[in-house]
C-alpha cells in the first residue's frame, strides 16, 4: 500500500503543478488588477504597492517566485484581507466547509445507497417510483430553490431552525440538507442502475436458488458488486463537497472556503485564488487515493498499481 502511494506521488505533484500554473496564468489574462480602485492614487504610491507585491515584475518571474514560496509552505498574504496569510484563511475556513460537505456526503451515502437497493429490488413498483422520483428531483432541484423552500418552511413558518449564520448547533442542518440533496440523487440513481444489473446476473439466481436470506443476497452479494461505478464518482464528488459550495455558503452566510472560489477571483486576490485552487487539488488527489483503496475493498480482484 505504501509503495503504491509513493508511486502515485510524482503524478500527483505534476497534476498540482499543472493546476497551479494554468490557474496562475489564466488569472493574469483577466483584465483588471487587485489594487485597481476608483480613486486615483499618486503614481508613486501605486508603484510602491505593485513593488511590495511583486506585481511590477514579469508574470513568469512572479510565478516562479510564488512557486518557490509555495514549495516552502508559504502561500503569502491575501490582497483583500490585508495582513492575513492565505494559509491562515484556509485553516479557518476549510474545516467549516468540510463539516458541511462531510455531512452532505454522509446524508447522500446513508440515504442514497439503501434507497437505491430498495428501488432496484422491485423495479416499477411503488417504492421504486418514489425512489426514482427522489433521485430525479435530486438532480433537477436547483440548490437555491431547495434552500429557499427549507428556509421558508423551517425558519419562517415553523421557526424551528435558524435561516442563516453559523452560530448554534442547529445551524448546520439546513445547509447540509441543501448541499446533500443533489449528491443523494446521484448516489441513488447509480446504486439503482448497477444494482439492477447485478440482480439480473447468474450468481444471484444461484444464491436465490440455494434459498439464502433475501437481506443477505441484496446487501452482501449484489451490493458489493454494484458499488464500483458509485465509488468511481465518489472521488470528484467528495472533493467538491468538502471544499465548500459558494452558493450554500452565501445563502446561509457560512464562513467557509467555498465563497472564496468566487469572491477571490472577482477581487483579483491572486494569492487567495491560488491557495483555494491548490487546496481543491490536494483534496481531490487525496479523495481519489481513498477511492482507489476503496476499490480493493469492494472488489478484491482489483490490485493497486496493476493498471498503471
Amino acid at each position: 500500500m505504501l509503495v503504491y502511494f509513493i508511486k502515485r506521488l510524482p503524478g500527483a505533484l505534476i497534476t498540482l503543478f499543472l493546476l497551479a500554473s494554468s490557474t496562475f496564468f489564466l488569472l493574469r489574462l483577466a483584465p483588471g488588477g487587485p489594487f485597481d480602485s476608483d480613486q486615483m492614487w499618486p503614481a508613486e504610491v501605486q508603484a510602491n504597492i505593485l513593488k511590495k507585491y511583486e506585481l511590477d515584475q514579469p508574470v513568469q518571474t512572479q510565478f516562479f517566485h510564488w512557486l518557490r514560496d509555495a514549495v516552502q509552505g508559504d502561500l503569502r498574504e491575501s490582497f483583500q484581507y490585508l495582513d492575513r496569510p492565505v494559509l491562515e484563511i484556509l485553516r479557518e475556513t476549510l474545516p467549516i466547509s468540510a463539516t458541511v460537505g462531510g455531512g452532505a456526503l454522509l446524508l447522500a451515502i446513508t440515504l442514497g445507497i439503501p434507497l437505491g437497493c430498495l428501488a432496484a429490488w422491485k423495479p416499477g413498483q411503488l417504492l421504486d417510483r418514489i425512489a426514482t422520483f427522489i433521485a430525479v428531483s435530486g438532480i433537477s432541484l436547483p440548490s437555491y430553490w431547495v434552500a429557499s423552500l427549507l428556509i421558508l418552511i423551517f425558519s419562517i413558518y415553523l421557526r424551528w431552525l435558524p435561516p442563516a449564520l453559523w452560530e448554534n448547533s442547529g445551524s448546520w442542518i439546513l445547509p447540509v440538507v441543501t448541499l446533500g440533496w443533489r449528491p443523494m440523487g446521484i448516489v441513488l440513481r447509480l446504486t439503482r442502475t448497477s444494482m439492477m444489473e447485478a440482480l439480473a446476473s447468474d450468481y444471484i439466481r444461484t444464491a436465490l436458488g440455494k434459498g439464502l436470506p433475501l437481506k443477505n443476497i441484496i446487501f452482501k452479494h449484489a451490493l458489493r458488486n454494484s458499488l464500483i461505478p458509485l465509488v468511481t464518482t465518489l472521488g470528484p464528488l467528495t472533493a467538491n463537497l468538502l471544499t465548500g459550495s459558494f452558493l450554500v455558503e452565501t445563502v446561509f452566510q457560512i464562513p467557509g472556503m467555498g465563497k472564496h472560489f468566487v469572491q477571490a477571483i472577482l477581487n483579483r486576490d491572486y494569492p487567495l485564488v491560488m491557495g483555494v485552487t491548490l487546496t481543491y487539488g490536494v483534496v481531490l488527489i487525496l479523495s481519489n487515493l481513498v477511492v482507489d483503496t476503496l476499490y480493493c475493498w469492494v472488489d478484491p480482484r482489483i490490485r493497486l498499481g496493476d493498471n498503471s
Binding site: T15, S22, P123, I156, E197, A200, F246, L247, F261
Partner: protein, 287 residues
C-alpha cells in the same frame, strides 16, 4: 442502435408507453413554444415597470404577481425561459459537436492524437469548474456569450470521453474492417460509418447536457455573474426573489418552480431515452 425507420418507430412506441415520459414531452414542447412565441402569450413586456402595481400577489391580471418594480412576473418568467433554454440548448449543441469530433478523432486514430486530447481532457477535469467558468466570463464579459463560452469550455469533456469509448469498441467491428477493405478513407469511415452508430449516445448526452447547462446558467445568474439586467433568466429572477423571501415568497417559488419542472421533465425524458436506446441496461429485468 439501428437507425432504420422501423427501429425508430419501435423506439418511439417504447418511449411513449410511459405516461410520465409523455407528460414530460408535452411540458417541454409547451415550454419551448411559450418561450419562442413569448410576445404573443404575454400581456406585459418583461421590462415594463409599473410602480403603482408593485409587489402584488398573484391575481387574474398578474398570474404570478409582480416584482418590486411592478413588472409582471409571468411575463418575466416566459421571457426568462427564452434565455435559460437558449443557453442550455446552445451550450449543449456546441459541446456535443466539439465532444463528438474530439471523441471520434481520439478513438479512431489513437496514438499521439489520442494522448494529446486525453491529456487535455484530464487537465480540464481536475479544475474546479466554477473557477474556470468565472475566469472565462471575466475574460469574455458577462452576458449571453460569456456564459456560453464559460460553460462550453469544460462541457465537451465528458461527451468526448463517452464517444471515444464507443469508437474504441466500434472500430474493431467487421463492418469497419470491410469498409476499410473497400478502400474507404478515415474521414469517410468516421462520417458515414461511425457517426450513424453514435446517434444513441449523442442523444442521451444531449438530454444530460441540456439540464446541466440550464442549471449552471441559473446558478451563475443567481449569484449575479450571469445574465445582466434588464434581461432576465430564471436564475436572475430567483436572485431577485430570494432577497424578498420572507415577505414575498412567491417571487422565488415561481421561477424556481418552473425551472424545477423543466429540469424534471428533461431528466425524465433522458431516462426514458436511455431505457429505449441503451440495450445494456434493460429495465425489464426483474426477479
Amino acid at each position: 442502435m439501428n437507425s432504420s425507420p422501423h427501429a425508430n418507430r419501435i423506439a418511439w412506441k417504447k418511449l411513449t408507453r410511459n405516461p410520465w415520459t409523455v407528460l414530460s414531452l408535452i411540458f417541454l414542447v409547451t415550454m419551448t413554444l411559450l418561450a419562442v412565441f413569448a410576445p404573443l402569450v404575454t400581456h406585459f413586456s418583461y421590462e415594463e415597470q409599473n410602480i403603482v402595481e408593485k409587489l402584488q400577489t398573484p391575481s387574474l391580471r398578474h398570474w404570478m404577481g409582480t416584482d418590486a418594480l411592478g413588472r409582471d412576473l409571468y411575463s418575466r418568467i416566459i421571457y426568462g425561459a427564452r434565455m435559460s433554454l437558449a443557453v442550455g440548448a446552445a451550450t449543449a449543441g456546441i459541446a456535443l459537436v466539439l465532444g463528438t469530433g474530439v471523441g471520434l478523432l481520439s478513438g479512431f486514430f489513437g496514438g499521439w492524437i489520442d494522448r494529446f486530447f486525453m491529456r487535455a481532457v484530464d487537465l480540464l477535469t481536475i479544475f474546479p469548474s466554477i473557477l474556470l467558468a468565472i475566469l472565462l466570463m471575466i475574460l469574455i464579459g458577462r452576458g449571453f456569450l460569456g456564459i456560453l463560452l464559460g460553460l462550453t469550455f469544460t462541457a465537451w469533456v465528458n461527451h468526448a470521453r463517452l464517444i471515444r469509448g464507443q469508437v474504441l469498441v466500434l472500430r474493431e467491428l467487421t463492418f469497419i474492417e470491410s469498409a476499410r477493405a473497400l478502400g474507404a478513407g478515415p474521414i469517410r469511415i468516421m462520417v458515414f460509418h461511425l457517426l450513424p452508430n453514435l446517434w444513441g449516445p449523442i442523444l442521451i448526452s444531449l438530454t444530460v447536457q441540456i439540464p446541466t447547462h440550464i442549471m449552471a446558467e441559473s446558478f451563475l445568474s443567481f449569484i449575479g455573474l450571469g445574465i445582466q439586467p434588464p434581461y432576465s433568466s430564471w436564475g436572475t429572477l430567483a436572485n431577485e426573489g430570494f432577497r424578498a423571501i420572507q415577505s414575498f415568497p412567491y417571487l422565488i417559488l415561481f421561477p424556481g418552480g418552473v425551472l424545477f419542472l423543466t429540469l424534471l421533465a428533461l431528466n425524465d425524458l433522458g431516462d426514458g431515452l436511455k431505457d429505449v436506446l441503451d440495450t445494456r441496461v434493460d429495465s425489464r429485468f426483474s426477479l
